[in-house]
Symmetry: C2
Subunit: 301 residues, 2 copies
């Protein structure tokens, strides 16, 4: 699992940084988390193809998190996309998109499915063979959700030498990966743990923007391999952060530490900061494995 | 009068080219013509400040001409703009913007005035001491307007030596610029043309996108100093152009020639073309003073 940052600035673009958008790659599927203005241009720029993108998640109705959506949806149609697209976002999102499409007499070339996020609630949103996604409410000035994406494991790992030794036919390998024991023709039951190793545990990515620092969120973030947590401000602007329902880098680090995650990614920087290194420095004093994200960079989860 | 090209691609971004937007500079005022996705980012990139931008004109409701507008309007407010903003565009534009603002509980920090374009009609839209703007209907798949911007002259040019010789006081200079004769205290009437030269004629810029080639438009474009005419395709794709209500470079050149303009600027290139030089070459064989626009470049009108 990997995440590529397309935009990591808050509110408005500044210093070449774009509003929020990121693409998560999970077992070959691409998921788009938020879609600030310029997302389709950033995807082109960083060589991310839309073909494997079938799921988009919008956290809330502030423009820096969705103003790139009409353009992206429209361009996919102009290019003749046929694969379905699944959009999850606040209920108010769909009427705006519908009006934009209707006004231009646009009939999308592909099946388009919208699912509203449950106001103020956590919920399981969707899953397929590669991932599952849930949402949880965060603390912002308008209704806003975070997302948790969990990759699916590809089953237990075969031990090729043991499989040969116990004469397991290749046709049975899929069942071995699922944990089945193998009953030989001579009546001997070969236990699965002789033939396989435990599966790699599924990866968990928690995406948490825009929100006040609030430990009530910890259960949703617990034990994530990577937590992306907004850090609009440095701790010296803690009051401003609270006033605007945002967090500081130090607060993000506290969340990461308390949630027991393995890695913290920072972003959603205020336009008042030209440099982003101070965000990493501030957070690292509390949670060492912190990175201040850079646009165009891809991070392993 | 000058125009800076922010986006010159059609429909979707390609080869680093952005959807349509351009900024006209007239006697210190900035006017934005169309506002494709990424316009605010392009303005930052090319060092165009919003302070002197008080007028925006949107030609039609295809997304590549207005998807940057919500972001621009919103960012101006986030930055605490107080100067009024005047938006002219299709009637359907305002309900979409209003819904975007309402959903985010946004109260703009500045007075915002919207004027709908008259469906299918030409009209005078606005004027101030620096410019006047009119619109005219063009031939596209949805209602669409072109715009004509005419600069205001700063009056007749004073001849300093003659003014001294005839003892005209400086307090009378403004009246001289407006063409008045000067009556001296000794009763001698000094005719204005002894004291001034004719004013530089006002510059005229005609903006014509998206449209089929149609000579009915010629009266609106007549004698423009510069015509910006869309050239989505080369002449080899003439049929495709007609089918999609667009023009070719050759057709744009024919319009420029028949309208008696001084300079032709091309843009709104289809994403099928990587290079833009062939557009200029094709048009120049009919109308020599043609330029294929490049983003970030500023052209004298």
């Amino acid at each position: 699992m990997q995440v590529t940052i397309l935009g990591n600035n808050s509110a408005l673009p500044a210093y070449g940084r774009h509003p929020t958008a990121q693409v998560l790659s999970v077992n070959g599927d691409l998921l788009l988390l938020d879609c600030g203005e310029g997302t389709q241009i950033q995807m082109q720029r960083f060589g991310l193809r839309w073909r494997n993108l079938q799921h988009i998640f919008i956290s809330h109705m502030h423009g820096d998190h969705y103003f790139g959506l009409p353009g992206l949806i429209n361009s996919m149609s102009l290019l003749g996309r046929t694969a379905p697209l699944h959009l999850f976002g606040p209920e108010a999102l769909m009427p705006i998109l519908q009006q934009v499409l209707d006004t231009a007499n646009t009939q999308l070339s592909y099946p388009f499915h919208f699912t509203p996020l449950p106001l103020g609630k956590a919920a399981q949103l969707t899953e397929n063979k590669n991932f599952s996604v849930s949402c949880f409410p965060v603390y912002h000035s308008v209704p806003c959700h975070g997302f948790v994406i969990t990759g699916k494991t590809k089953g237990r790992k075969l031990l090729p030498d043991a499989c040969k030794q116990y004469e397991v036919p290749a046709a049975f390998y899929n069942k071995l990966k699922q944990g089945d024991d193998y009953l030989r023709k001579d009546g001997v039951l070969v236990k699965n743990d002789l033939l396989t190793l435990a599966a790699t545990p599924p990866k968990k990515y928690a995406y948490c923007t825009d929100t006040l620092y609030n430990p009530n969120l910890l259960p949703y973030l617990a034990n994530a391999d990577t937590l992306y947590h907004e850090s609009t401000y440095l701790q010296s602007d803690e009051e401003k952060a609270a006033l605007r329902f945002h967090s500081t880098a130090q607060q993000a680090a506290n969340m990461a530490k308390q949630a027991g995650v393995k890695q913290l990614l920072l972003g959603h920087y205020s336009s008042k900061y030209k440099e982003t290194a101070p965000f990493a420095q501030e957070a690292q004093s509390i949670f060492a494995n912190t990175l201040a994200t850079t646009e165009g960079e891809t991070y392993d989860i």
